[in-house]
């Protein structure tokens, strides 16, 4: 989070140098980003569920799933979230909702078919941990800051363009090129990428936290380890996911793995989840 704020301050300074109104610009960008992020956060559960075409899980047909969720909610002191099913052959799951009272978890039919009881329990525990740790709130804050940076840099670059590339400075009549301006421009171009990389890093940390919290709930690491191993071996691609929702699923739903089975450098930087092998190794150490 500190890194985010730092980037935001640097961008604000760059904007100040370039168009002479850094603070106001930053505040406006922050306001726009906050409003849009807040709306999406408030409605995060219904948005996420509709995008993934999730349907409520029938309590009789999916009795085992409901039982597992209820048991783990007792263990975690959480109210029971709404349970949904996504009809997709790829094994995956996600959790969403602004706080434990307005939460929902969804599981694919592929996951229900491929996992046994203890593995399913591990996955459900992971998703409940996301709800318990308020990860949706954390990621919304991250997205707000990214959005602020993106809006600010976008507006600034456009304003510079309209000004004919001159650095506007109050009382500055010459067209002396300002060295700070060059650094400012470079920063503006790089900042959105940097912000996104940081958002991905925050996401990875919260995923690891959710893995560890899940084991704290079940007190049974082999369950989740076995589930992650099965996910690693499975290569079906989740079709119900999109770029926007990729970060919520338990496993990276988009293909980005090259032939050697390892992620390329840029994929690693912007990866929303830590690699499965690392997650499994971490859990084994517990």
């Amino acid at each position: 989070m500190f890194g985010f704020v730092l980037v935001l301050v640097l961008v604000g300074m760059a904007v100040g140098v370039l168009i002479g109104n850094g603070i106001l610009g930053t505040v406006i960008a922050l306001a726009i980003a906050s409003v849009s992020a807040f709306v999406s956060y408030w409605k995060s559960d219904s948005i996420a569920l509709r995008v993934s075409r999730a349907v409520p899980a029938d309590p009789v047909v999916y009795k085992r799933l409901h039982n597992l969720v209820e048991g783990l909610c007792i263990a975690g002191g959480l109210p029971k979230p709404r349970v949904y099913i996504v009809h997709d052959p790829a094994p995956n799951a996600f959790a969403t909702g602004r706080n434990p009272k307005n939460a929902a978890i969804a599981v694919t039919t592929g996951l229900l078919e491929k996992m046994n009881r203890v593995e399913l329990e591990g996955v459900v525990a992971h998703e409940l941990s996301h709800i318990k740790n308020y990860d949706i709130l954390v990621m919304t804050l991250a997205v707000t800051l990214v959005g602020t940076v993106a809006i600010l840099t976008d507006i600034t670059i456009r304003m510079m363009w309209w000004n004919g590339g001159r650095v506007a400075r109050a009382g500055d009549r010459d067209n002396r090129s300002n060295p700070l301006a060059l650094i400012g421009i470079a920063l503006l171009i790089v900042a959105p990428l940097l912000a996104r990389a940081m958002q991905a890093a925050v996401g990875r940390r919260r995923e690891t936290l959710a893995d560890v919290s899940a084991v704290q709930l079940t007190r049974y690491p082999p369950g989740l380890i076995s589930a992650l191993e099965k996910l690693q071996a499975d290569s079906t691609v989740t079709h119900s996911a999109s770029m926007a929702t990729a970060h919520m699923w338990i496993e990276q739903p988009l293909p980005g793995v090259n032939d050697t089975g390892r992620l390329g450098f840029f994929h690693k930087l912007f990866n929303t989840h830590p690699p499965l092998a690392d997650r499994i190794a971490l859990l084994r150490e517990i």
Partner: protein, 184 residues
């Protein structure tokens, strides 16, 4: 004049700090009480399932009477146990053992095993056992959080004067760690 303001601010900050610590102790203690009642809810649920089970099994006249009677006995013991964690724990261990014996013996009666009533009751009981285990886990976690508050700074300063006693953990009896011997 300045010194007076500083003293005032310090006093206000101290009071706020004490209030926050006290409130945290209260909420943690309430969490422990809530967790304890939750175990009760799950245990009662299990006790409620047993009469059904007994009725279903009774129909199979050849079934071992002693195992059935053991379950009924254990149930009444559990219902009349004193409401402290230790006594309840002991009664519960007895009930778990008796139930396990019953289900192990049912393996020898294929008709009983095929009875859908019996199967669904068995699943419900297993499910409830799982919930009891989770409720106990949550209780112990809540006790840990509460004891942490009373034992560490700043709770340790005024815990005694405000009547915040440490709570005891739920422990598994040594008897429960030994699997019940099943005699056919």
């Amino acid at each position: 004049m300045n010194a007076l303001w500083i003293v005032l601010v310090v006093v206000v900050l101290l009071v706020v700090w004490v209030v926050l610590s006290y409130n945290r102790l209260i909420s943690r203690r309430n969490e422990v009480d809530n967790a304890w009642s939750q175990i009760d809810v799950q245990l009662k649920r299990r006790l409620d399932l047993i009469p059904n089970l007994v009725e279903t099994v009774k129909g199979y006249a050849a079934f071992e009477k002693s195992a059935l009677e053991a379950v009924i006995d254990a149930r009444s013991k559990a219902m009349s146990a004193a409401p402290n964690p230790a006594a309840q724990g002991a009664a519960d261990v007895g009930l778990t053992g008796a139930l396990r014996q019953l289900f192990a013996l049912s393996e020898a009666y294929p008709d009983l095993k095929a009875n859908t009533n019996f199967l669904s009751l068995q699943e419900e009981l297993q499910n409830t056992e799982s919930r009891v285990a989770f409720a106990r886990q949550f209780y112990n976690d809540a006790v840990e959080r509460y004891n942490n508050s009373t034992q560490s700074f700043p709770g340790v300063i005024f815990a005694k004067s405000f009547n915040f006693a440490d709570r005891e953990y739920l422990e598994v009896e040594a008897a429960a760690a030994v699997p019940p011997s099943v005699k056919f």
